[in-house]
Symmetry: C2
Subunit: 424 residues, 2 copies
């Protein structure tokens, strides 16, 4: 069908891409949103799926459903392979798609700092499939320990190493310690899940480096109270099937989880603009690609420096703000204005949860930790969850978990490791 | 550790195995329950996971959690490879396990009547992993239709064939018709999900052959009212990637689901007793293996003929009754009694749901269909779901779905078809 409206193509249905689409709801454009998955994931709660606290549908919703009332959007489940900026075309596996404006929001994946072989050994957490792999590894480790008769081998199954003490690493460590100490103990007859060791390793000097130093220290204390061992200033030098090396020290651990590095989506490199070490695209102050005012790069794929010199952090609120900004710039350009409004990041505060009634929160100069921070975290996360049904189910799950220490999604499905045929 | 109590090994944590374990809760025995999965599945609602109505954790619970208060049970996640009835040992991948009493309850899987190559083309529904495959195929078919420009190819993605009109086939067909007609239409811009054809093919003369003829006819009418095309007396003669053949007729359909045949678990063949055509073990009237009063075979793995000549049906209530019976026989034998009490199946009635407010129910001479049968189905299924939390979440999901036609678990994860490495 022929349509005179400018065509806006959005690559990626994460927080940035969705915010851009919504900003253009009433604009005289037609939008095609392309994602290789059929769903949007509420990433801040992904660790809860990985640690069996929530089911996948509780934190994810089909992109079509989210956008069904916005009739100027067509959602396509497909994967962009690259961008031809001269021809203004997105390359798809079958054919290509012309655009007038392009918003690239394909995010980031794990980075193993040149040790790609670690990917299989130490899975990271970016997608629902990643969360299932982590859930399976954690739950199966306790099953292996129950089957194992040799005490040293059993303990190796009960030793967990988490690499990287940013928000994801801290959340995984706290949840894992709770599972071992509160959820599982009465269910095993031969092994004792309370003998699990959870070791959180961080190369930098402190946990939650994005927070104020005093809150980092509080978070560390709260982690240690949950039974997590924290080692800062320590880099992992080797990972194999049986454990990790920290400098000269060898730690036997059958389960290693990766929460250390991020690398931008490879699509960024196809745009022809300079990128930083992590592959993030260096954009102009209005988030457009240098020399291409019709292309915007937003979210974790972009690197933007604020006027005071600090980079915009790779968090959900920043991606949403960048998405809205790109949408506004597109509207301005269609209206014949220059539209090169510089992006300004408004820091809405930072939150990280550690465990039951333990969290840290920072809003400008206001710093909160412990129970109050945990309540703020809870309300904020339930509030921002997409879709009423999800919020209600998540609240039921959490209330139930709170009273019983039970985790509702302790179901092992699928398989990982070497490729196997389905059904084995 | 040494323990003078007789050792009862139960293979399989389905309805039969769990009922046997519970029947022995207060008996002077130690029990090892072995299952290759970590969870019990409430099979009657598996089709809801396959059709995106419920999340997996809503219908499954860890076996350890279910049995955690029964301290005479050790749960092992492992897979029995065979039984040495002379040595009284179960063969495991690593080593073997001695038993005094053995209860085999490993159930059934799909049967493709000699066409094993159909397994990849037309997935069946027995496990949660099967349900994910079916969910993925159904949801991706509509995504393919949206991407496809050629009208004939698009329609092939919107044609669905379900082979077998027993309870599972009828439930899948009804749910699929509802998804196409009510859940998806407003979400697609290029293709129209209402153009989906759902074809239910049955080789026998009527749908729901286990029910009274009048109810079969009512079920057929209710299916047709939902838009399902029903073809009875028709066998599928070929299946390939692009469709099926029914006799001389060719039907283009990219999605084919299998609900036709069951084959007993291969473990039955290792017991050395006669089996029927489907591989089910022919047991004595007290459910023990001929010549082995210490071995019981129950559930879908056993074939038992009732005094009036009809076989016990392969349904959850029958498996539960057989499990309790085997447990009682073990108790009697330990107490020095012969314990060869014949099993008597008490028919608690049959229920099958077809769709929104459409179901059939049969309790002896009482036959109900339509709205009342649907309410009975709803109450019975929520009541028998394991665990309070599941019931509540399922009720929330269903109430929400009822008002909105939304299905809460429309999340595509993983991949199927040819083996691929994880993460691709």
């Amino acid at each position: 069908m022929s349509d005179a409206r400018p065509h806006v193509v959005i690559l990626g249905g994460g927080f940035g891409g969705l915010a851009a689409a919504r900003e253009l709801a009433k604009a005289p454009v037609r939008i095609t949103l392309i994602d290789r998955r059929n769903h949007h994931v509420f990433q801040p709660l992904l660790y809860q799926v990985g640690t069996a606290g929530l089911s996948a549908p509780s934190i994810a919703a089909p992109l079509r459903r989210i956008l069904r009332k916005q009739t100027n959007v067509t959602v396509l489940m497909d994967e962009a392979r690259g961008v031809d900026t001269a021809a203004k075309q997105v390359r798809l596996p079958q054919g290509s798609l012309d655009y007038d404006f392009l918003i690239v929001a394909t995010g980031a994946t794990h980075a193993y700092f040149g040790h790609d072989q670690w990917a299989q050994l130490a899975p990271g957490l970016k997608t629902l499939d990643d969360a299932f792999v982590i859930r399976r590894r954690i739950l199966l480790a306790f099953e292996h320990a129950e089957r194992e008769d040799d005490p040293a081998k059993r303990q190796a199954w009960l030793n967990f190493v988490i690499v990287g003490a940013g928000a994801t690493g801290v959340e995984l460590a706290g949840a894992l310690a709770e599972i071992a100490r509160h959820t599982l103990p009465r269910e095993f007859r031969r092994s004792d899940p309370r003998k699990a060791n959870v070791l959180l390793v961080e190369a930098g000097p402190r946990v939650l480096a994005g927070f104020d130093e005093a809150l980092s220290a509080k978070a560390r204390t709260q982690l240690e109270r949950l039974g997590v061992q924290v080692r800062t200033g320590m880099a992992v030098s080797a990972i194999d099937e049986h454990g990790v090396s920290l400098g000269n020290e060898r730690i036997e651990a059958r389960t290693v989880l990766w929460a250390a590095g991020v690398a931008a989506s490879p699509l960024g490199a196809t745009l022809g603009a300079p990128t930083d070490r992590a592959g993030r695209v260096q954009v102009t102050p209005d988030l457009s690609l240098p020399g291409h005012p019709e292309i915007f790069v937003i979210g974790d794929l972009a690197t933007v420096t604020q006027p005071h010199g600090k980079p915009v952090p790779g968090v959900a609120p920043a991606a949403k703000q960048m998405g809205r900004h790109a949408g506004r710039c597109v509207r301005a350009r269609i209206a014949g204005q220059a539209g090169d409004i510089p992006f300004r990041y408004r820091d809405a505060g930072s939150l990280a949860t550690i465990g039951r009634m333990a969290a840290v929160a920072q809003f400008g100069k206001l710093k909160v930790s412990g129970l109050l921070a945990w309540w703020i975290w809870l309300v904020a996360h339930v509030y921002f969850l997409i879709g009423f049904r999800n919020r209600l189910v998540v609240l039921v799950d959490w209330a139930w978990a709170y009273w019983t220490y039970e985790r509702s999604a302790r179901i092992v499905t699928g398989h990982d490791g070497e490729p196997k045929s389905p059904g084995t």
